[in-house]
Symmetry: none
Subunit: 222 residues, 4 copies
């Protein structure tokens, strides 16, 4: 008689909607406070390690309040990732539509990355994705669709245009757009793990990388 069920599947009708509930300023503010607190805690301890108790305390709300805004811990985590990603995705989309020279676009994106990601808590979100997405396949797919897939499609478009315009003579970046962002990944990881042992000037590294790459692929004046 039901020996093998995995879990109780406790009651839970009429889901707490998860997304934006009330509309009051207070309500929105609380939601933001919870997300901010969650970012700190998840970043510091990972998904499993973070305690909702601490999130609540840090957000200045009662434990139960979290559940008025997010169905459960996992939902809170995913909403956190999502809401942080949205503006980044917008930035990527915008970058793909420009007609500036390739090098200029990358320089601009590198600056934005250093300023808007590395320089803010958004880098923690990136780290969280690196650390946890594997255990949340839905999240991994969402992230894949929103970020690398779009970003690489944009890069490919830009590279093709640059070739067509004669700016560059090599299509390596078309086939491996990963190569252009690889140092950014290094920067995030380094910042999280080794910064206290050795500083890394991420912006300089990114610039050096672009120099190498464009030195290799730019049309050289004979």
């Amino acid at each position: 008689m039901n020996k093998t069920k995995t879990k109780k599947a406790r009651r839970k009708r009429a889901a707490p909607v998860s997304a934006k509930p009330g509309r009051t300023e207070k309500s929105v503010a609380r939601r933001e406070a919870i997300l901010a607190a969650a970012l700190e805690e998840f970043a510091a301890r990972g998904f499993e390690g973070a305690r909702l108790d601490d999130v609540a305390r840090r957000a200045g709300v009662a434990k139960g309040t979290i559940y008025l805004h997010f169905r459960d811990k996992e939902t809170l985590f995913q909403e956190l990732i999502r809401s942080t990603l949205t503006p980044i995705v917008a930035m990527i989309e915008a970058a793909g539509k420009t007609d500036m020279p390739l090098r200029a676009v990358f320089d601009h994106l590198a600056g934005a990355f250093v300023r808007e990601v590395l320089g803010t808590q958004r880098k923690d979100i990136v780290r969280l994705i690196l650390s946890e997405a594997r255990r949340f396949p839905k999240l991994a797919e969402y992230y894949y669709r929103e970020v690398p897939e779009r970003a690489f499609a944009a890069v490919r478009g830009l590279v093709r245009k640059a070739i067509d315009r004669g700016e560059i003579v090599d299509d390596t970046l078309f086939w491996f757009p990963q190569l252009i962002i690889a140092p950014a990944l290094v920067a995030v990881v380094w910042d999280g793990l080794f910064d206290k042992y050795e500083k890394l000037d991420a912006e300089a590294m990114l610039r050096a990388h672009f120099n190498l790459v464009f030195n290799a692929i730019e049309r050289r004046p004979s």
Copy 2:
């Protein structure tokens, strides 16, 4: 921050010595079995998510036996990382002492990386470090001293020799040795998160990267 570190300080009396205990064959075999099982479980669920119960079951030993070989869960985790790292460190040391042309050394290391890391469970160890090391500063430092510090020192030595020999004309890699391994990091991350959505030919990517880099820095025959 880090206000409420209640957790990690539970009971912990008379520590069972931790390191390599007896010398019996059986004992050593058990230790290996536990480490192998731990790798699987930690890789699949992360440090917090893994259960020693599952490690024991997978290793075919009783739960208590784990404690005969490792002081606690954290020690098991760190020993796992350490023991996996040892041969990699040796490889790095060896690579730094060669006199082969720089390009040849990197090609060789890339092959070794694809074969010995990406193609084995060692990639899971790398991922675990990326994911968890932040919460284990001791581990992060150990890893930093053993791997990137040594590896980058080796790279710097090789680069200097290559410049001295006139093989290359650019010292970017001396200042940012990270740039040469960045795509390897991408490969590990991609493999863990996105492989099911889009395959990535890591070896081809690494080769393409070297082509770009060396095209940029090699002395060009006038």
Copy 3:
């Protein structure tokens, strides 16, 4: 992204077997202690109202120990019902196979019921079934198959034989075997709810009921 799932479905591999785990005397004794404590608590507060904390305390074990023997609260509840029912089912089966006069069989069963059910904690189990089975359809079906279905089949067999033998001249009990046990149900309910306000001599009531019934259906010597 998975907005509508009902519950976390937390990990739970390799079910804790639920039934008899170890084989030690101690283990069996603990299991019994837990079941006994559970009976008290469930009987006093119902399924939802009972707290496993109290069950553990009453059984003299730690909270976690309960989970070594029973997958969860529901399983504990159902095993409790089941293990109590088993001997009752056996009794019913035996009663159906006799060749005694119908009246004698019922007299015997009534005695057994008063002695073995009303006079023991088994009456609490009956009450629990009345109270809770509706919320555990699996349990309700199990109970139905084991008790009323068998019991009424037995009654019908006995009634038919009694008619064939000319003991009784009426087949009402064949069509409504419920009528013969109805007062027993009243006795259980009364005992639970009203005994403190007015005592009910259950045995006398059952006897009076049989007198009525047999007075109505027995072949009357013209």
Copy 4:
């Protein structure tokens, strides 16, 4: 026993008066809506299992509104039972005052029971009393005074009159009036637990029961 009654005594300040509040039509309607919703929820999940959230939703009021009409969950429960019982008590009182033949009275009551209880949600109230009254001694006593005590007094009066009039020759029902309603109890229980496995024609069963009983006790024309 009952060592650890921690539960039922949480906060409870400035009680909101409990009983019938305002007099507005709206107010009365709301109260009725809440009671109706409460019946559904308590019947489906029991006292502990029912959630006031669901009651409020079903009644179309806010959660706080319940507390404007009922002091707390327990009060709501008891008022529900009480208000449902009132008309039943009236029916019993009326039945006790008739001068119809005993058999006719019972036939009439059986019809009323099938129509007004079994055929309506009132049967759920009966079930709730069977299930929960034990945990609410006040409720049990109230119910005892209002229903069985009165009903059995009425039955005894009717029986005595029937004997005096020479309708029946046996006083069993005087001593055990429970015997006359026992099948009704069976009908309620069966309906709740086993109806899906086997239908029970309650009315036919009650009639068959009366036939048996009156066949046994009616003065037989010599």
